[in-house]
């Protein structure tokens, strides 16, 4: 594989993308061809199997340059073909087909997610070189160091404020523009920031937050507006905990569009006859909203909230691009990266594990949602 990548890397950047896609399409084509013709009895199938038994180890050896994997690959093909023959007397060689469909993704998931996950758990209890276990030392450092305690505090502010604010604003906006004239334009205006990267948004908001000394002309929108009301200029990024809230504003600015579109679609699904009946019974707009609309769209609200919670727990780009963690505005994900760049792998892994533990309750909610919808 590295040999292939090395060859691709000699091409101009854009052609590299085209080349890898061509290789990829060819690979998928081979897989599908194998799935279609391998289980068939007769000469063609036999030749294909023979070719496969020779080709797989050779290709593996050429790609990965290790004999162990080539041998293992050859053995796997042999085993697969054997099982296929045993099975195909009864069925149609399902096992090999199944492997052909599942194996590429499964190998990547195991090698790229499951094993690294387990290793990071180990790293969290080891020293930076990963040579010996140090017990809870990485965690006691995190929970005794004032700077990292501030980081945890900031992350808690993020996860408490940002999802609630973006969901609430999204809900209000969706309700206010529902069936209003120009609804599409309204939606687009709030939705547009979703296409903008967190980095781009951070630069946009740095302009808004710019502060000049009192008396100078203010060039940032925020301080210009404050100036109109005669207030002294403020630099929202200069002191904690205000800077965390200033960063949350950027997140909300992006996230409200998502909340609004999803909630708006749910609101369109609220049954008309229920709203109508309530109106005939004399319920005001507010009561109809709280008694009918909100209960009806509750599952959607939960999804929007949990999405925003996961995103705000993992927030990284905004902090890096706006403050880089200065003035005690750091968060878990950003601290994890900083420890990683400093070579402190143990502490970095401890931060990552902490982040993961905080995300788990949200996994539970989401898995429950999945079970629910699969049954329903």
């Amino acid at each position: 594989m590295p040999a292939l990548f090395t060859w691709i890397a000699t091409l101009p950047a854009l052609l590299q993308g085209v080349a890898i896609l061509a290789v990829f399409v060819a690979l998928i084509g081979l897989i599908i061809l194998a799935v279609e013709y391998l289980p068939r009895p007769g000469r063609g199938g036999t030749l294909l199997r023979l070719a496969l038994s020779i080709l797989v180890p050779v290709v593996l050896l050429a790609l990965l340059h290790t004999y162990e994997i080539a041998i293992a690959g050859g053995a796997l093909v042999g085993l697969g073909l054997f099982l296929l023959d045993r099975r195909s007397r009864g069925g149609a060689g399902r096992l090999l087909q199944l492997l052909a469909f599942l194996l590429p993704a499964a190998v990547l998931l195991v090698v790229g997610l499951v094993i690294p996950f387990v290793r990071t758990v180990f790293f969290a209890f080891q020293n930076d070189a990963g040579t010996e276990f140090v017990g809870l030392r990485n965690f006691t450092w995190i929970f005794s160091n004032p700077e990292s305690l501030a980081t945890i505090g900031n992350t808690l502010i993020w996860v408490l404020v940002a999802p609630a604010a973006s969901t609430l604003l999204g809900l209000l906006y969706a309700v206010f523009i529902d069936n209003a004239r120009g609804e599409r334009v309204y939606k687009l205006l709030v939705f547009l920031p979703m296409a903008i990267s967190f980095v781009g948004a951070s630069i946009i908001w740095r302009l808004v937050y710019q502060a000049r000394p009192e008396g100078d002309a203010q060039v940032g929108l925020l301080n210009a507006i404050l100036g109109v009301f005669g207030a002294a200029p403020v630099d929202p990024l200069s002191s904690a905990p205000a800077n965390t809230f200033a960063l949350i504003v950027v997140f909300v600015w992006i996230q409200v569009g998502f909340a609004m579109v999803v909630i708006s679609a749910a609101i369109k699904g609220v049954p008309a006859d229920q709203l109508e009946a309530a109106a005939l019974d004399g319920a005001g707009a507010l009561r109809r909203f709280t008694q009918i609309t909100v209960p009806w769209i509750r599952p959607t609200l939960i999804v929007v909230l949990s999405t925003a919670s996961i995103a705000s727990l993992k927030i990284f780009d905004i902090v890096i691009a706006m403050t880089n963690g200065r003035n005690s505005s750091g968060v878990l994900a950003q601290q994890m990266y900083e420890r990683f760049t400093l070579g402190e792998n143990g502490r970095a892994a401890a931060y990552a594990l902490l982040l993961c533990l905080l995300v788990i309750p949200l996994i539970v909610i989401n898995v429950r949602n999945l079970r629910h919808s699969r049954e329903g």
Partner: protein, 331 residues
Amino acid sequence: MTHTEIPPASGAFRRPTRHTPRKAERRPSTSGTGTGRLDRVRARLSSRAATAVALLIAVVWTLPSLGLLVSSFRTPDAVASSGWWRAFGDDALTLDNYAAIFDPTRVQVNLAEGLINSLAITIPGAILPLGLALLAAYAFAWIPFRGRNTLFITVFALQILPVQMVMVPLLRLFSGGEIFGTVVVRPLDGSTGFASIWLAHTILALPLTIFLLHNFVASLPADLFEAARIDGAGHGQIFLRIVLPLAMPAIASIAIFQFLWVWNDLLIALVFSSSDQNPITVMLTNMVGTQGQNTYLLSAAAFISIIIPLGVFLGLQRYFVRGLLAGATKG
């Protein structure tokens, strides 16, 4: 993240059956005039005050971007001495900032290269996981096997592993070729180009992509598969001739999402790309460090980085919203 239960277009909406039919029985006459009355009920919800608040929010949401756009066309002196809203009075607008940001001697980064790198990372980064995920999704949906549900739930749960949780070992696997201290593959190094960042994006996108495509592929009518099998088609043919064409709308909307996600990504690029493969987000972040005070340059550079995803977004908005409602968004 996960998925919403309410994609209105597909009609897969769970109704609380306790209420709806009863109301429908009591008021059979509403079916004809329902829409008209509904409009009136809803119209009262969006009263004048509500419209005013909505308008205010829309303005507040638009002004920051407008500020960026206007600032990017102003001279350095103008940007330093007055707010961007004053630009409408004076006419000293210039394109020089855009010339400057593409001149590496003036901004210390090669922004043109960053744009090309972003494209070279993003296009495979959006398509590779989709191909692998469609194969897996087909297996999960139409090839019954023991432990299928458990395996599927496991894949689903994997999507919420934070990047941070796998980043360091993944980097070691790519750069050292080792797992648990044993060398298993030849490492990817400086000579292998975008390989590690493509692989990282592919791996991290797989769980969510498999989940979403499975939802779609599983909802295709079973009769189709039955008929194809009777005609003698194997899994390979069924996949190529039935699943792939029918899943195209779903593939398109997920591809757009993945495109935006990879284009806008910063963390994976910071960790996995070497300096001559840096995408535009990394270059922008570097510019904040080196050119933080030169807002006229920063705003032009930021605007350039926004144009391509914005174009994709505006051009394919319909697919984007469809993907969003199917749950194609990452936390």
